[in-house]
Subunit: 243 residues, 4 copies
């Protein structure tokens, strides 16, 4: 997409993915035309989507068991992603890559992210329901962007923030894969950013939707790479072009 | 989403969907919070996405069999959708609902809809590869919008065209479900339009991606209704408020 | 711009304007091609731009005398506009036209509306510096949109709010004519809304810039009409099509 | 606006401007808060707005004399700007700065740039009326962007084109100062680009509107610098960081 060369790259065939178990031979045949070299180019920014406490409520249980009590929780899928996301944040901070935190407007009015009848401030819920997960909270000085739609780009000035920092690659973590993450990735790509999704750093309430959406994103709009690969690329990029 | 009431509506539980075979009980439980009344409200416009000949090349075969010769074809899925789309177009024209045709830029440069290495004008292909399918071509005077990204809204003036016509409901047909249709539906919803997808009037190269993307769209962003239901609603709307 | 007919209109030649004293015969000749019928069409919304106390600080003096103490004040021009704006708000509320209040982010960071080195929260200033002017404050339930750029449309969901209310005409009041008002009007027009500016309901620090910007807006993007004319049109519209 | 330092800069007080004759002492006092260092930063792209033959029709006469025969012509103001624009294009091409050409859609429909009742293809006019002025035409391979509104950013993918090239500074030439140039500059600034206007490389039908709009742009959104200064900065930038 960009004329720029990859500063750090990885080959398509070396990667295993969470969708391998649902991608049958026909799907693989049909999607041949998307094979390409993957990686990072230019200046990178991490965009972290909706990592507030509501996504983690009720602990690491299957989301279907939490649905009645904590309908916004991604349960075990959320908790499994904490450690990979924290490692990506740490690597970004080490290598002078900005971390931008996107969150929803707790006082949401009639304009909402999706058709879901759950949202806004639950008066019966804990006071910190819309605070960031403690392990994934912004460091002092990091930018926080408040959105009201699924995409982190719609109705926000995320484009201006990225352009004014000279960013070429957007690295996405957060939730949910089939909702705000997907909408954000499609818009990042449309706006001309090279886009990378951290495979074990995004999550969803539903495993099949997580798998198929990651498959779509990887082929059409973004490089889906696991956190270990991404961290290795960030370090190679930093070594090659210290900021 | 809109304050307006439905002029014509249908109940959630009366509908069968193409994703029923992959939506397991857990998925159904998790997505309870999205149940709502579905239908049409205010002025409606049909937005038809990427119905050019390249999507139909090679005839009604499985796309995996067409991949080597016609990598842009959706094969049998495309051909099955022709009749329902043609019926929706006819109902729209009968009821004074505008039909807007969105197509890709055949002379695509480095900015493309997705990461696919297929596109632009195939010099070895037929001269009419980027023409509209003959049964689904614009009627005289109907608007044609040319896009270069997945979403019909990105880098186009579709918002201005819809606003200047006073449209409240966007009715989407076309291809592909997991690509340009999904990106268009998410943006229609973000821009404040009530959005409806014609279930048998959208198609994809891959059946699983078609099913899961329609599931996502129905729950999060749009009412997914079959063409017979949509045509019935258009007729009720027209009878209630003749234009 | 819109296919819709005016529900209430006024003729071009019946109007006097604040720019009449600077528009020489050459300017009038050059701008002949913009003559047209003016008015309101479809559903109307008032968009009020940046009516916070900082614009009124220091009282009704010439802005040049206030520059050292209150560099954000429009002084006498601001105070003269209070009464016309209040009358437009009252007429809108009487006729069920929504009033949407756009304001700046007091905690502005590096992304700002213009290149001005004045802004953000002045720690030495009064606690209510970013509150709405008391006579122009939102009524309960009226929408408040927070922007960080000049245009009320950039980085906000104003399009979605207007679309979901079925609005065709945007009626602009507020400040400054040469800054946020102009940027908002151009974007309203680009997005397909018929746009009207209340001539005595917008203001600026500099009179010449106020005059020339209103001249530009009237010819190119919007109908510039005084508050008495606008209120008359709102009442005719309401009588013709009660909501 | 950007965190990046200027690679090449110039001081505010060293510059004379076309608005000096209309900016009275009060205007200068009021606009003190906008004084700053001016220049270029990061990668630069030239964006040339609407340099088609229609703007030059009838030769270098006052636009008021051309109004009846060539209502789209800027006459003598257009012809005076050809040489400075050509020199900026040449300097850009010498220093590997991309030149992007924005033009209007000759087959304009109901959605137009402004309220002007002049536009589209004049069937009685010359066949090349919408071609680029011969001295200012795109070089082979240079990008052409077609817009239908005033701003080069509205309904186009200019943001994506600039982001994918890693551009930080947008350098604007073309017409008209009070129309498409102004709208383009405001949007460039809103999207986070550092924006520079070539003072003798933009033009308008009306001199007063040209002067006051450049005054507004210089203070609020962009650095207005003459072509000789801009070319000197491009050369210093190129020498400092050869591409």
């Amino acid at each position: 997409m960009s004329g720029a060369e990859f500063a750090a790259s990885v080959e398509w065939d070396t990667l295993r993915h969470v969708w391998d178990e649902v991608a049958d031979p026909d799907m693989r045949t049909i999607y041949q035309a998307y094979r390409r070299t993957l990686g990072l180019k230019g200046r990178v920014a991490v965009v972290a989507v909706d990592l507030y406490n509501k996504a983690f409520e009720g602990g690491p249980l299957p989301p279907s068991e939490l649905q009645n009590t904590y309908p916004s929780s991604c349960g075990k899928y959320a908790h499994t992603a904490v450690e990979p996301i924290a490692r990506v944040f740490a690597a970004a901070r080490r290598t002078a890559v900005p971390v931008i935190h996107v969150t929803a407007n707790a006082a949401a009015g009639p304009i909402t992210a999706t058709n879901r009848r759950v949202g806004g401030l639950d008066p019966a819920g804990p006071a910190d329901q819309w605070d960031f997960h403690p392990a994934l909270a912004p460091a002092p000085g990091e930018l926080i962007v408040v959105k009201e739609r699924a995409s982190a780009f719609y109705g926000t000035q995320l484009v201006a923030e990225l352009v004014s920092r000279g960013i070429s690659t957007v690295l996405v973590v957060g939730e949910s894969t089939s909702g705000c993450v997907r909408a954000t990735v499609v818009d990042a790509c449309s706006n001309g950013f090279h886009t990378v999704v951290v495979e074990d750093g995004v999550f969803d309430r539903s495993w099949l939707n997580h798998q198929v959406n990651l498959f779509d994103l990887h082929h059409k709009y973004a490089d889906v790479l696991d956190s270990a690969t991404v961290i290795g690329l960030l370090e190679r990029l930093s070594a090659a072009a210290p900021r």
